[in-house]
Symmetry: C2
Subunit: 157 residues, 2 copies
Amino acid sequence: MSKQAFQDSYPAEFSHCYGCGHDNPHGLQLKSYWLDEEDRTHTVAHFTPKPYHTGGVPDKAYGGLIASLLDCHGTASAAAAAYFKEGRKMGTAPILRFVTASLSIDFLRPTPIKEELTLYGEITQLEGRKATVALSLSANGEPCATATMIAVALKPE
Amino acid sequence: MSKQAFQDSYPAEFSHCYGCGHDNPHGLQLKSYWLDEEDRTHTVAHFTPKPYHTGGVPDKAYGGLIASLLDCHGTASAAAAAYFKEGRKMGTAPILRFVTASLSIDFLRPTPIKEELTLYGEITQLEGRKATVALSLSANGEPCATATMIAVALKPE
């Protein structure tokens, strides 16, 4: 079964994000999906750091990468949930695009740089233009960071 | 007057951070300083995004870049303050190196990508191995994001 990533539905003007835009060749190109297509409450993404994504501690991923991945996965999850709530396919007009109002991250343990990282998201609240997203980043099944995001939908042009 | 950046005092094993390590050619190479060498309470750093650091909104910097800059400026500020409190020159042994325990960011307005960004830091608490740092990122004199970091010093090897 082929699945389209949330970010691949973004229209051209929103496809240049360094963290997740498919039109940014320099960027991380994170891809987010529903964890279970039948139960659209949780989201998932995978990312394997590059060797140069080192952090303040040798052989660990840098905090900014972790924040970047959480940020992009969170806003993508919010958009997916908002489209689903409206019963619309992602990417259809009017465009629903979320930006981060706040992101609060707890770093639980050093994040290994040589492992595939898994990001999880759960929309805990979605009212009007505001979404609250619970996020985590794990390696080898153990959470390395958790976060809470408040994301806000851009007003339609 | 020549000034040494906080990050330039890091020993080799801590100089590869993507955000601020001088030995990471792929990285952002952020440089942090005291705002006033005579009054060592506030810190500053400057950074001009690259064109590919675009975010979810066209012509604005991406949230992960903002988080990365805040993160590196915060841990560098914490280390500088801890050395100063001990009356030691940065980089002298035993090494004081801080990692982020938590980072909570409020995004106040879109951050322009074509302007030089200014980061400010203030150590609001420093007790034992724990530092609390108030951070902000501004463009054209206007704050675009504020943050609070809790950073913890690594235990000496």
